[in-house]
């Protein structure tokens, strides 16, 4: 008898060898039916990154990630296939994507920076996309660079190669295309992320155009792409778009506009990057600008650059103003840009321009939030997300941030997210959906997807 006990006891002890934590929460849809998921948006939803569109970028878009997570739900989960209008290759369409490469500057310094890939482009076959299934089903109809302001433009497909690629009828308005797509897919759930480009065009061009929201159409109802869309126009067409998307009684999530001034594109080159090593040079500059800068003193060390402001006036940049990442480094280093020659205004966001951007973002976000309340849709606060990302998000051993390259979340264009950044966004949306619609959708493993590649 005793022996039996001992043997039994040993068996119990051996059971200790294989621990398990059987704690997986079943994925539940909550108040939503995810069966037909449709994504609508601009570059940020399309998988655009590294300043171009590639098939791997598309396959790592956040809508793709969302679909994969929605698909894990048993009841009312998403049903495939999830069709994106894929390009055929990985080197960029229509222009070459950016890769990290070595360049030698005019002063002999060698640096690793984004350069256009020299690999052959793959425009053949990418100019037109035909969906292989269900009468041309496409789930992600996001078009790089499209604005809310573009939705009423007749013949938009002729103006944007990315729209032309897959639109049923490129000669019609994007709003018509949207209705056709909704009719075709009958979405039960959608994500909408539009409006970023309506203000980003102004910011990325260094604040060209009016900027106060009083812009008038260049021709017909087409607005200058480097100006800010008037709030009235934004409000009207954002509402039209949401009306189209909810016409099949779909649930959905509206993503608002992040603080675009926190993008690496605007924060990588410091405005006080003028490094003076000789007292003599400081004195020279002082003499040169004595008529406009009696209260400013150049000194050895870090100085704010000399810039052209919005009105073309020469002055020294002030704290908080931003220099664009696209500024030619050779001109900064060897042609006296920022010191003896003012930095051209298209590379600078001045205090006034930044104020225009921030005012617009908060006005647009108010509109988006109102739409959410009115139509009972989930409000995904990307503005907060970006704020959190700029102070750093610790995720499974990596500190993701808005830092260029080393922050790990942005692609080499400094504006768009890379595969991991898209996965972070997908997780943030999932959080919002879980809270708003009482679902339990699991998050995706961000670190599973490719980061930036080094030569």
């Amino acid at each position: 008898m005793k022996k039996v006990y001992i043997v039994g006891g040993l068996a119990l002890l051996f059971a200790a060898c294989k621990p398990s934590v059987n704690v997986t929460t079943p994925a539940k849809a909550g108040d939503v039916v995810f069966t037909n998921y449709m994504a609508v948006g601009c570059s940020y939803s399309s998988g655009y990154g590294d300043k171009s569109l590639t098939v791997s970028g598309q396959l790592n878009s956040f809508p793709q990630r969302l679909f994969e997570q929605f698909e894990t739900i048993n009841t009312n989960g998403a049903k495939g296939p999830f069709i994106q209008p894929l390009v055929t290759g990985d080197n960029g369409y229509p222009e070459a994507k950016l890769v990290l490469g070595k360049v030698t500057y005019c002063d002999g310094q060698i640096a690793m920076v984004p350069v256009s890939t020299t690999l052959p482009l793959d425009s053949n076959g990418s100019w037109r996309y035909l969906s292989p299934v269900n009468n041309g089903q496409i789930n992600n109809i996001s078009v790089p660079r499209i604005r809310v302001a573009d939705y009423p433009v007749v013949g938009y497909g002729g103006l944007n190669k990315y729209a032309q690629r897959f639109y049923y009828d490129p000669s019609k308005r994007p709003l018509d295309e949207l209705y056709s797509r909704v009719f075709n897919l009958h979405p039960t759930f959608f994500t909408l992320w539009l409006g970023v480009t309506d203000v980003l065009g102004y910011a990325a061009s260094g604040g060209q155009g009016d900027g106060t929201g009083a812009a008038v159409p260049v021709t017909l109802n087409i607005y200058n792409s480097s100006d800010i869309t008037p709030t009235t126009v934004f409000t009207a067409y954002y509402d039209s778009i949401v009306t189209a998307l909810t016409s099949t009684s779909a649930s959905g999530a509206l993503l608002n506009i992040p603080d675009i001034t926190a993008l690496p594109y605007f924060t990588t080159v410091p405005a006080n990057g003028l490094n003076i090593t000789r007292k003599g040079f400081a004195d020279t500059l002082q003499a040169m600008y004595s008529t406009i800068m009696f209260d400013k003193v150049f000194q050895e060390g870090a100085n704010y650059y000399i810039i052209k402001d919005h009105d073309g006036q020469t002055r020294q940049a002030v704290p908080g103003e931003l220099i664009l990442m696209t500024i030619p480094r050779d001109s900064l280093k060897c042609a006296g840009w920022g010191s003896t020659t003012p930095i051209p205004k298209e590379y600078v966001l001045t205090t006034d321009e930044l104020q225009n951007i921030r005012n617009t973002v908060s006005k647009f976000n108010y509109v988006i939030q109102q739409e959410c309340q009115l139509r009972k849709l989930a409000y995904v606060d990307m503005f907060s997300f970006m704020k959190t990302l700029s102070s750093g998000i610790a995720y499974n051993g990596i500190n993701y941030s808005t830092e260029f390259v080393s922050g790990g979340a942005f692609s080499l264009d400094g504006v768009h997210l890379n595969a991991r950044g898209n996965a972070l966004v997908a997780n943030y949306i999932i959080n919002t959906i879980n809270n708003y619609y009482h679902s339990t959708i699991p998050q995706t493993d961000v670190n599973k997807y490719p980061g930036i590649k080094f030569p």
Binding site: V21, A27, G397, I398, S406, N435, Q443
Partner: protein
């Protein structure tokens, strides 16, 4: 402008915990079989570790050897921000073989003085996950091995009191692998870089004990084992990174210090006929281990020295055991222990997913011939399921660790 591309450190959480959960309490088989208790009762030459004072009580001169086979395993369940638990992972199966050798006894039959030498393994375990698991950027594998050499002197001061002490010299190796979030342009999309740190360490300390024989059947023990700072000097740090990052992550040397904590123990043993009962309390000074540092010989803007706060708390472990003398040949033993974790919440890292542990043990000893004893013991360790967070790296989850440890050994009395 090279700096603007790679300013912040990509290598974030190098070796942040290292060590604590790898402490082994496997220095003697009888003690192992009785929940790890053994401070009060000098059973055999392994008392050189458990209580050096007990060495002066041994009859004759003894040679002792034992070996254990630890088979630890950890399960992890991922819990994301929204509280949804989505994936389960299991650590890779490994077997570690710590060993103990003791030799010692009174210098001659009537002497109050005893001498001995102990060679034992206070740390000798590791943890290995799949190379592509969820926590790969924190740890892929960690391995810590350490052998202590302890020459010991004991003296029977009175009929009831023996004292002893030993000098401790420790030698060991550490090995650590972690994925780095850098990918080459060639190769698969998610081919990570890897940091590999490997080094050998040495340290010194001491082990003191007093053994009190109140009566033939009631004995007490008090011991103090000092902190041993295992210093790693000129360990090899190797970084497998794309060519263009070679200058940012040069292969270099590193220095570090792993402080193995001080332990104060109190034990009591009580004999009732054929049954001996014993109990120990171990107070372990983990809080000396408040920061872990790694200093690289060559640092760059991407590779900086590591200072990881630990904030361990001191722990009090309770151990109980019993030995039943079935006959003059065979004895049976059983016991258990409750071992609370030193790791505070917010610092539960997957290189050491430590939690409160419950230990159950059993064993047998057989005397097949005069002077010879053969022992076998088995220990099962189960950690309480722990919902841990590792704030600094943004890594959360539910952990459960188990280990099965069979061991065999023998000793011979001259």
């Amino acid at each position: 402008m090279k700096k603007h591309v790679l300013t912040a450190s990509l290598l974030m959480s190098v070796m942040t915990s290292f060590g604590a959960g790898f402490q082994l309490n496997l220095q003697g088989l009888r003690q192992l079989a009785m929940g790890g208790s053994g401070t009060a009762w000098p059973w055999d030459a392994s008392t050189i570790f458990y209580n050096p004072g007990g060495l002066a009580r041994l009859k004759g001169v003894q040679v002792y050897g034992s070996m254990m086979f630890i088979m630890p395993s950890t399960a992890y369940g991922n819990r994301d921000n929204s509280g949804v638990t989505s994936s389960n992972e299991q650590s890779v199966r490994q077997t570690f073989t710590p060993f103990n050798l003791y030799f010692g006894g009174r210098v001659h039959e009537d002497s109050r003085l005893a001498l001995g030498l102990g060679i034992y393994t206070p740390f000798g375990s590791g943890l290995k996950w799949d190379d592509n698991w969820l926590g790969k950027y924190i740890v892929q594998s960690i391995d810590l091995k350490c052998v202590f050499f302890q020459p010991t002197v004991a003296y029977r001061a009175t009929e009831w009191l023996s004292v002893g002490g030993g000098f401790v010299f420790g030698a060991g190796t550490i090995d650590f692998r972690q994925a780095m979030p850098v990918h080459g342009m060639l190769g698969a999309d998610v081919d990570d870089g890897q940091a590999h740190l490997h080094g050998s360490a040495t340290g010194v300390g001491f082990n003191l004990g007093a053994q009190i024989k109140m009566r033939e059947n009631l004995q007490f023990g008090l011991t103090y084992r000092s902190q041993v700072n295992m210093d790693v000097s000129a360990g090899a740090a190797t970084f497998n990174v794309p060519t263009s990052l070679r200058d940012s992550f040069p292969n270099t040397k590193f220095d570090s210090r792993l402080p193995l904590p001080q332990v104060a123990s109190f034990g009591v043993g009580w004999r009732l006929g054929d049954v001996t009962l014993q109990a120990d309390l171990n107070y372990t000074g983990w809080n000396s281990y408040d920061t872990l540092r790694f200093d690289f010989k060559q640092t760059t803007s991407s590779l900086s020295n590591v200072r990881a706060p630990r904030h361990y708390r001191n722990t009090l472990t309770t151990r109980v055991g019993a030995c039943y003398k079935l006959s003059n040949v065979v004895s049976l033993m059983a016991g258990g222990a409750y071992d609370p974790t030193p790791v505070t919440n917010g610092f539960v890292s997957p290189d050491l997913p430590d939690a409160d542990r419950i230990v159950l043990t059993c064993g047998i000893s057989i005397k097949p011939a005069r002077g010879l004893t053969i022992m076998a013991a088995f220990e099962g360790v189960n950690s309480v399921k722990r919902n841990g967070t590792y704030d600094h790296a943004g890594f959360n989850g539910i952990y459960k660790t188990s280990a099965a440890t069979p061991g065999i050994g023998l000793y011979y009395n001259f």
